[in-house]
């Protein structure tokens, strides 16, 4: 036992091995969280859509108890037996509550099983590759859509850092100095997937969808890059971990309620930040191909858009890629504008001085909570706004956002010149 412990500490003392092991651990965590959030956001999408339209949404899929033969069949209702064993009357309050929660039929999951089962269904479906497609690119395209959002998650910090006896662990897979640019660049690559899917399908509607996706994504990338510049001017760094750190100390970008944020200068800077936030969030919507900007797959004029010819798991990877892009976009907005992992009001530092691991855990939970909230906002907007017309989308980008972003940069520069 001692030798094993000693070997472990030897390995961890080597900086290369320490770096490698911690990075792999962080990588697995981030990957798992993102994939879980993809599933979760599908569920949120469907439930919230239901609620907004006065429906319950998918609430049925649970783990039916009669699957477990050991607990008895559907008719025998194991819960009734259990309640009787515990001495609860069969028509008492507890039994009625259980029946209302459908506990007598299944293990309730509030429909959370639904996306998993949908995934299983798509996995088992017949894979149809039409004979007229260009095979190589047809197979390559879904990978190019699903891959980039997962890769771009590497720079998103999900907590602060901890000191261990072997070295510092920064809770961000790759603490690059080009954080937001990395996300823009890598998620911008997913346009190849959409374009190739449209082109290689060799049919009319997918092709039009691919063209639309290309034009839209390239245009909004310009506006997105320009809209985030005022924020980078304010923080003076491109490192996302440092941006979040300074937000934790001096107040979130949009809500500077503590630290140095409680100054008139900082509050004046909130005006360009707010404009920047609105533009950036809109661009993220467009980049993630979400309604009201889902021109590439709008079913009223393009059947299914670029993934019309896809089926089974290839279609599912387009679907997952879209949701992964949504999760990453939300994470970026939260990181840049809503404080990232910071709990706020100086709680971070107090917690960190008490116990760093506890602080990191709390920050992770807070970050995920903020992420969920913004994903909810994504869904909320989707079920509120109708789809724009194609020319409106392009006009909004080139005639409004680009100009507004440049003006916003100038405004920020002027304000910062007079403040300092």
């Amino acid at each position: 036992m001692d030798t094993i412990l000693k070997w472990c500490s030897d390995v961890l003392s080597n900086p290369t091995w320490f770096y490698l092991l911690t990075t792999i651990a962080k990588l697995v965590l981030v990957f798992a969280v993102i994939l879980a959030f993809v599933v979760l956001s599908v569920w949120i999408e469907r439930r919230v859509a239901g609620w907004i339209q006065d429906r319950p949404g998918p609430n049925r899929a649970g783990l039916p108890l009669f699957l477990f033969r050991r607990f008895g069949s559907k008719e025998e209702q194991p819960l009734k037996k259990l309640l009787l064993y515990l001495g609860c009357p069969p028509d008492g309050l507890i039994a009625r509550l259980c029946r209302w929660l459908r506990l007598d039929r299944e293990v309730p999951t509030f429909g959370l099983m639904q996306p998993c089962l949908d995934g299983g269904k798509l996995f088992l479906k017949q894979e149809i590759t039409p004979s007229y497609v260009r095979k190589l690119y047809f197979i390559l395209a879904p990978m190019l859509v699903l891959g980039p959002p997962l890769v771009s998650a590497a720079v998103i910090p999900f907590a602060s850092w901890v000191q261990t006896p072997f070295g510092e662990i920064n809770m961000c897979v790759a603490n690059l100095n080009i954080g937001p640019l990395w996300v823009f660049a890598v998620s911008g690559l997913s346009v190849y997937g959409l374009t190739l899917a449209g082109w290689s399908s060799n049919s009319k509607y997918p092709f039009l969808g691919g063209l639309r996706a290309t034009a839209q994504l390239i245009s909004y990338e310009v506006a997105m890059g320009l809209s985030v510049i005022p924020l980078l001017m304010m923080f003076g760094t491109l490192n996302l971990q440092e941006i979040v750190q300074s937000q934790a100390q001096n107040g979130w970008t949009l809500l500077p309620f503590w630290g140095e944020g409680l100054s008139v200068q900082r509050w004046i800077l909130c005006v360009p930040m707010l404009i920047s936030f609105i533009m950036f969030a809109t661009c993220i919507f467009a980049e993630a191909n979400r309604t009201p900007f889902d021109m590439a797959e709008c079913e009223t004029d393009l059947v299914g858009g670029y993934h019309t010819e896809y089926s089974s798991m290839k279609f599912a990877s387009f679907f997952m890629g879209e949701y992964a892009a949504m999760v990453i976009g939300s994470a970026l907005v939260v990181t840049l504008f809503l404080g990232g992992w910071s709990i706020g009001f100086g709680i971070d530092e107090a917690l960190a001085s008490y116990n760093e691991w506890l602080a990191v855990l709390c920050q992770l939970v807070i970050f995920l909570f903020k992420l969920l909230a913004f994903i909810f906002f994504f869904v909320w907007v989707r079920w509120t706004l109708p789809r724009f017309r194609w020319d409106q989308v392009m006009k909004l980008c080139w005639l409004v956002f680009v100009e507004l972003a440049v003006l916003n940069i100038a405004l920020t520069a002027v304000i910062m010149y007079f403040i300092h």
């Binding site: 919230v48 609620w51 907004i52 339209q53 949404g57 609430n59 909320w380 907007v381 079920w383």
Partner: protein
């Protein structure tokens, strides 16, 4: 072709900025969300809703009593008041059926049957529910008023073979029908 210009509404600056209207729209959907979560959705009563939203949780709760009397469900065979098979296996329904869902094999009347004027009775009577289109032509054409569309609408199968309903099942579904058959009704 005539060229008719459509009058577009004039938008004010506030409308053009879009943000205010966007927030209003978000407010409306949020209201719906909160109300349906609280179980106070509008027109919930009209839809007999329970729980979240205005929806009726279907398999647990049904609205069968609201079905109109003319509702066309699964076809069924009926017996007379005296328990006699009304069907005389004339096969008119089989011929009229546009979907060819019905198959009748005529047979002789069972000995001791009460029907004095009846010459035949179905030996086999099958309706394929995967073919049936619930048009009600069989009911219309039947001279003996032996086949009726019931109010059954839940036809759930786990197997194609279950879709074919045989004579016993059809009689069980139809039950006993009271009243004279028009054909034998001397007053009509």
């Amino acid at each position: 072709m005539a060229y008719i210009p459509v009058k577009r509404p004039k938008f004010s600056i506030l409308d053009r900025i879009y943000v205010v209207e966007l927030v209003k729209g978000l407010g409306i959907t949020l209201k719906h969300l909160v109300l349906s979560l609280l179980g106070k959705s509008r027109s919930k009563k009209d839809f007999n809703g329970a729980g979240v939203g205005a929806c009726m949780p279907f398999p647990e709760q049904r609205w069968d009593s609201h079905l109109p009397s003319y509702y066309r469900g699964a076809p069924s065979l009926v017996r007379g008041e005296d328990g006699r098979e009304r069907c005389v296996s004339c096969q008119l329904c089989e011929f009229i059926c546009p979907a060819r869902a019905i198959r009748v094999v005529p047979g002789s009347v069972a000995p001791g049957a009460t029907a004095a004027k009846q010459e035949k009775a179905p030996a086999e009577f099958e309706i394929d529910m995967l073919r049936c289109i619930y048009c009600g032509m069989c009911q219309e054409v039947c001279p003996e008023q032996a086949i009726f569309l019931s109010q059954q609408y839940l036809i759930t199968l786990t197997d194609r073979k279950q879709a074919v309903r045989n004579k016993e099942q059809l009689y069980r579904l139809g039950g006993i029908r009271k009243g004279l058959i028009n054909k034998w009704n001397q007053y009509k």
